[in-house]
């Protein structure tokens, strides 16, 4: 816990200890990769703009958020006003482990070995079985949220997932990890008794999870 990188991770995570700041973070996170202004965050917090800005800037300093500027009205030139300061999730990931553990390194080795031996199907099968182990459910969004996804409805028939719980690993082993993810979501739907209503499929696109869920 003493390298500069460790300390940055610790600062980043520790900055979320304040409950108001955590809610500010969650408000920005709920926009997926989208940018959010101070006013929206202030409204979500039920607080003033100054307090919202204070917490947002702390989150930027901790490396959890990034700043961009834009004229939100689309107006330009004189009279358009100052560009608004907007916040979005930063690219980086932060994990703190006490004592130090390297599970990601282990996951990378396991993934590489699975690919080399062509054992993808075994992984998909395990993922499907683990996904399907839960109790019956009626709300698909709740089910997905509980498992680390960030579901967002696109109309009544389709749900996209704004978060990939396996992001770094999926970037390194896309077919393997996205296939595992699909099997897992498929298992979740089956295990919760929602498979008659919803179906998961591979539907890769930039900036979101490779799986989408559609009404049958």
């Amino acid at each position: 816990m003493t390298t500069p990188e460790d300390l940055r991770d610790l600062d980043a995570v520790a900055s979320l200890a304040d409950p108001v700041r955590r809610r500010a973070y969650e408000t920005v996170a709920a926009a997926g990769g989208g940018a959010v202004g101070r006013d929206e965050v202030a409204q979500a917090l039920g607080a003033g703009r100054t307090l919202a800005a204070f917490h947002l800037d702390k989150l930027v300093a901790a490396g959890l958020l990034e700043v961009s500027y834009a004229r939100r009205s689309g107006r330009t030139g004189p009279g358009a006003g100052r560009p608004a300061k907007l916040y979005r999730l930063a690219e980086g990931e932060h994990a703190v482990s006490v004592p130090p553990r390297a599970y990601r390194a282990a996951a990378e080795l396991l993934a590489e070995a699975l690919e080399q031996s062509g054992a993808e199907e075994a992984l998909y099968e395990v993922a499907r079985r683990h996904g399907s182990g839960g109790p019956a459910r009626s709300d698909v969004s709740e089910l997905l949220t509980e498992h680390g996804y960030a579901p967002a409805a696109e109309g009544p028939e389709r749900i996209v997932l704004r978060n990939c719980p396996f992001h770094r690993l999926a970037e390194q082993f896309p077919p393997l990890i996205c296939g595992m993810n699909l099997a897992m979501v498929d298992g979740l739907l089956t295990g919760s008794g929602l498979e008659g209503e919803w179906a998961a499929r591979m539907d890769a696109a930039p900036g979101r999870c490779c799986v989408t869920i559609s009404k049958k």
Binding site: G118, E120, P175
Partner: protein, 153 residues
Amino acid sequence: MDAFHLAQINSARLRAPLTDPSMAEFVEGLTLMNQLADRSPGFVWRLEGENGDGTIARPDDPSRIYTLSVWETPEHLRAYAYQSEHLDYLRRRREWFHPNGTEAALVLWWIPAGTIPTMRQGISRLGRLRAGGPTPDAFTFRQMFPAPEPAAR
């Protein structure tokens, strides 16, 4: 325009000849994925091959096929390969291809923009990656190297 483009060669060993019924969905996908590649942002060139389906079979081992293509940047190739419908075909690759074992199946390298690679060059780059691991001359998505600096004028 960038001075260098990204070349890629990809190799796979078929479980059955392309005419076998078990390969029908793969063959169907080839046409669709070639069309998708051709209209993808940053696509520069691909070797169409004698069959016109973009798969080039090794003369001494027809079960060994290759694809060879050029893209403006690694991000363009990544978007096509992993952030499009193509990903689902990759996910299903064991239905159609044998595992590669420890042999690298995909290699990337930089070529001067406006030039195209040959099969011989591609296979030689695969050989370099297999022999010496990733280097600036033969690398992978997991271990990238930046494009060479344009030569001074």
